[in-house]
Structure formats: C-alpha cells, structure tokens
Symmetry: C2
C-alpha cells in the first residue's frame, strides 16, 4: 500500500492508496474517534457498483449504516441536494461524532464534504474517491463546495477529511474518457512541480492507459503528494495554492463557454494548460521546446489542445468571472519550465487574445 | 471606548464597544486588508433605522456599498434567504477581499455569517450587532448558522468575524422585552464565570434597566470578555465551550415545545438556568442559597422562572434532540456556586423529571 500524509496540524490526515482497498475502511473507522452512525453518500451508478457492498462490510463491523444515492451528474451539486442530505442526517440522528462517507467522484465528494462541513457546524468526513479525477484532485486538500446557478463552486468551505481511501480497483469500471480527464490533472502535477514525474508519465504512457495497477498507484501517489505539499503550505489559498490552478483559468472559461456539455473538466484544463504555456512563451517566460513537450504529452494521453466551439469574445469575458479574480485582476499561473511555474497578474490583453485565437482553431493533432 | 480582544491566532479580532460607535466602521475597514465592495445585510426594521445612514457613511469613505434588507424574524434564518444573499453577492461581484457586514440582531448576524463563511469558501465578515442579545452572545465566538425545518442552527460553521462593532446607541430603540432577553445571557456570564460580575448586576439593576450608557457598556464589555476567554480555550466546542450552554439545554426544549412563539431565547434560557440550578441542588452540587440568589436575580431583570405552557413528557423528549447530545448523552452544565459550573453527563432521569415539573408550574413571582 502507498500512503501519503497531509500535514495540517490537528487537521492532518492520510491518503491510503491500494488495490482492494475498500476493505480497510471498517478498520480505519474503528481506529478513529467516531461513533457508530455512518451515512454513505454515493450516486446511483457508483452506489450500485460499490455502495451496497461497502454498507454491508461496515454493518458487519458493527456500524449503523445508511446508503443514500443521489442522482449522478453535476446538477446534483447544489443546495437542494445538500438540503436532502441534511434532512437525511437529521432523520438518522447523526451527531457530531458520526461520519459522512463520500463514495464517488468529484460531485459526490464536494457535495458530501460541504454537508459534512456545515451539518452541526462540522462532523467527521471520509473520502472514498472512485474516479481518477477525484482521486488525484478533488478529494485532496479540503476544498468542498456546491454550485450556484450563476457559477460553479461558489458556495463552499475549506474542510479536511479524516482520511482518504483510494481503491485502484474502482478504476476498472471507469470509462476511458473519465480516465483521460483525470490524467490532465496528473500531467498538471508534473508540470507545476516535478520534472521527473513528468518524464515518468511520458515513459509509461501505455502502462497508464492500460490501467496497470503499479502505474496507476504511482501516478496517484505522486499526484496526491504534490498536491498535499502545496496545500500544506497554503491551505486556504492565500498565495502558493494558486499554482494548482495551472490551466484552470482558461479551462474554466472553456467549460462555461460550452455550457459544460462538450469538454469535461480535464479536457478543458488540458486546453487551458496549453494556452497558459503559449502565454508564457509569448511573454518570454519559457522556451518553444517546453511548450512542445507539454503539447506532446497532452496529446499522448488523448486530451485535446483546442476548443473550436468557443467564442473568443465570450471566453475573454469569462476569464474575469473566475472566483480567483480579486480586484479585477486575473492570477495567471504561467510556465517557466517543466516542473516550475510562477504567478503573474500582468498579462497584456493582446497576448491573451492571441492565445485564445490559437486554442480555438481546429487542431489536427486531436 | 471599551475594547475586548478575542485571541484566536490568525483569526483574532477586536470587539469595540462605545456610544455613537458606528462612525468608526469606515475607518476600521480602511485599516483592514479588504477591497471596496461591501454588502450590508440588515432586516427591514434595523435597515430603516440605521442601514441607510451606515451605507451613506461608507460610501462617503469611498466604498461601493449595497444594503440588502431581509424580512425580519427567525423565518429568514434559512437556506432560502442564504441563497438570496449568495445571488446578491455574485451579482454585485463580491470577491474574496470584499466584506459582508451584518447590521442587526442574531438572525441577521448568524445568517450573514454563514453566507460570509461559505461564499467563495469564506470572505471577510464584520458584525455590527444591534440587539443586546446579539451584542453579548451571538456576535462573539464565530458560531454562524441557518435553521433547518427540523431544528434550529443545524446548518452552520465556526467562522470568526474580522471585527465586532457594538454601538450602545442602538439599544435606545430596542423594546424592553428584547433588552430583558439579552440580560439573561448577561446573567449567565456572571453565573458561569464571575461572581463579582454577578454582584455588579445585582447592585446596578435600575441603571441597567434604565439603559444608562456606562452600565450598558460595562455589562456588554464584561459579558464579551467572559465569552471570549471561553472561546479562546475551545473555539470549536470540543469541551469547555459547552459551559456557555448553561441554561440552554432546558431553554432550547422550552422554545421548541412552545413553537418558539411564547418565550423568546433569553426568557427560555432564564427558566433553563433556574432548572439547571435546581438539578444541581438536588444532586448536592450547590446550596439552596445559591439557587435562591440566581432565582432572585432572574426575577429582578424581569425574566420568567417557569413555563406553564410546556408539557413535561414532550420537554423530556426534546432534551435529547439537542445538537450537543452525543451518543445519546446530554451534556448538562450544572452549578457549583455563583461563578462556577461543571459539566455532567450523568443526571438521573427522575431528577430531571422532578425539575421539569417545578419549572412548568405557574410561578407567582413572574
């Protein structure tokens, strides 16, 4: 088993990564100072695959367990579904020592985490992320949220789980496109912090795409580790944590401009990373070769480099609506070289427009 | 001006208490690292009295200010009104450096605080409490929440304001009954932590009831100080903070049993404090004289000692529905002597029933 520590004082926790890893959950919970009541939150897809079995296992270990499955998809990540979960928690009599366990992808994790953070002002929370994207990204770092009709993740909190349990086996039922979307965040980890890891990805493309357990364990472990080290230095995103948004400024705008219906998160981030690299090149921050390296890697992992459906004017306007925009300034995360990024608040508008043009033309590579 | 420091590391803040104190708000905000956008949340009563003037003052100091008045009353403390405020914040373009300023009583403070805690995962928040109850209780300590249809304050967070500004002048427009309800929490502060303060209250009854500025400043300052010292030791209510609930276990049950329509919060707490004192006496924890002292003080400040409208069986059941009940055990805060309480999880049911009987008979004193 691989373990990653997230060191945040009295909010520290571990990420456990292994095959057949769901079996450790009961033991883990028995060692935690929680009481018997557990609400497993899942969606109807994941709940059918793994929820019933997990519920049974926890019951056999003496827990009083309820499995509540929400409707799958981003539309469930809202205050109405949160209200459904609050009601469930109250009716079940969950108290401040009871546990909410999120079994699913990012929607389930973010929503359940928000409910755990706010029910009775916070109760214990365990993440069991089942998609690659949630394993390497949303389950680590304590960002929980629901969407507002006017924007994603606008209502949320920083709330750390008590543990994250990642079971590699879950990835076998994951559709390919969902694997690729997670790989965008994995690539991002290499790009922002670790050239060797970026090389590892390039040297193990087939193993990763073939979902070989050792390769998956390694990319998840290292991605979680990179994210954990950043979060440890800046839990509430006052400065450094912003580097995790590499590719996300343009990525979020692409998602919004295509009504979240054409590109999934990782695909939009892949295009956004390429865009951020191009901006960096035009500002003289990184070399042509660095951009080419990133472009090549993105393509190897079946991710897109352009979003021809987008409208440049709309994209440009959307950039300023990101919730990280403060005092009308965009916090651009730009590329110096593979493994090193920096934050820049001053990017000339014409450079941005030039890059938006480049990333909206049809691209033959994809 | 009186000042109370709340020392919570990087979440520390000051409580400023004075007459004509709203005039310091603009200066205070200019000294804080916030940007120009401010959303003042108030209710239609307080907003008309003080909101327009405060908005004008902040605008004159260069802030971009919006005043949003919610419908007055407990029914506004819900997720629907929170949603109304999120939408307002988004439309106004509030970012992570913008401020939400709560101008009003507990409903406005708790609701606005919850929105400030969760909008963009937390933005700066300033409390300007206008009722005595919110000045001495809800505005200090960072408990923010909204109600769920199945119970009060079930959805919330611990979120500290950047500052609390208390203007004694606001109390002149406060109805007498609202003054008395605040005095219940003031008495509680003396009972749980400071015999001298309890004596001060008894020696200054008329000055307090006459709203003499010096007496009001003193009782608010000392109550905030006592609460701050407790919160500093146990911000998230894992142990000691529970002592602030003296009188609240029974108090909450009385409020719920009378559908929140007969007794206001302080009145219910007054009866609850008397009930807790009686339990303490029957368990041999405090003397008859201590109970008599408390009873006498409660009466002097026009607060009730019994709730004849309540049903004992229902009250008993409601005691176990409090959100502080963990593993089906009530955390009783009991009285040793004036100025000293202790927590007890083992109170025989027959003692509780005996006391519930006593505090539900009509009481001639009131």
């Amino acid at each position: 088993m691989a373990e990653v520590n997230v060191n945040l004082g009295n909010r520290s926790y571990k990420i456990f990564i292994d095959v057949a890893n769901k079996k450790i959950i009961a033991t883990l919970m028995q060692n935690m100072k929680v009481n018997q009541k557990v609400l497993i939150v899942s969606d109807q897809n994941v709940g059918n695959l793994y929820g019933v079995e997990l519920k049974k296992q926890l019951q056999q270990s003496g827990f009083i367990v309820e499995l509540h499955c929400i409707s799958p998809g981003e539309h469930s990540k809202c205050l109405d579904t949160a209200m459904e979960l609050y009601t469930k928690a109250i009716v079940l009599g969950l108290d401040r020592n009871s546990t909410i366990l999120a079994l699913g992808g990012g929607v389930v994790g973010d929503l359940s985490g928000f409910v755990a953070a706010t029910y009775l002002r916070g109760i214990p929370f365990i993440q069991v992320p089942t998609s690659l994207l949630s394993q390497v990204d949303s389950s680590v770092g304590g960002k929980v949220a629901v969407n507002h009709p006017l924007g994603k993740n606008l209502i949320g909190a920083f709330y750390q789980p008590k543990a994250v349990v990642i079971d590699i086996d879950c990835l076998h039922t994951l559709p390919d496109r969902e694997l690729f979307t997670g790989l965008a965040e994995v690539i991002k980890c290499g790009v922002i912090a670790d050239k060797n890891f970026f090389m590892y990805l390039n040297n193990n493309v087939q193993q990763i795409l073939d979902k070989e357990p050792d390769a998956l364990t390694e990319i998840i472990r290292r991605s979680c580790e990179i994210k954990a080290r950043v979060v440890e230095q800046d839990e509430q995103e006052s400065s450094l944590r912003a580097i995790l948004n590499f590719g996300h400024t343009i990525g979020h705008a692409i998602e919004a401009n295509t009504s979240f219906s054409i590109y999934n998160h990782g695909e939009a981030v892949a295009i956004g990373m390429y865009g951020a690299a191009l901006i960096s090149k035009y500002l003289g921050l990184c070399s042509e070769m660095t951009v080419a390296n990133l472009k090549d890697t993105i393509s190897k992992f079946k991710l897109p480099l352009s979003a021809p459906e987008c409208n440049i004017t709309e994209l440009f306007a959307l950039l300023y609506r990101d919730k990280k925009v403060v005092d009308n300034k965009i916090n651009w995360v730009l590329l110096n070289e593979i493994g090193q990024v920096s934050i820049c608040k001053q990017v000339p508008e014409d450079v941005v427009i030039r890059v938006l043009k480049e990333i909206t033309v049809p691209n033959k590579i994809c």
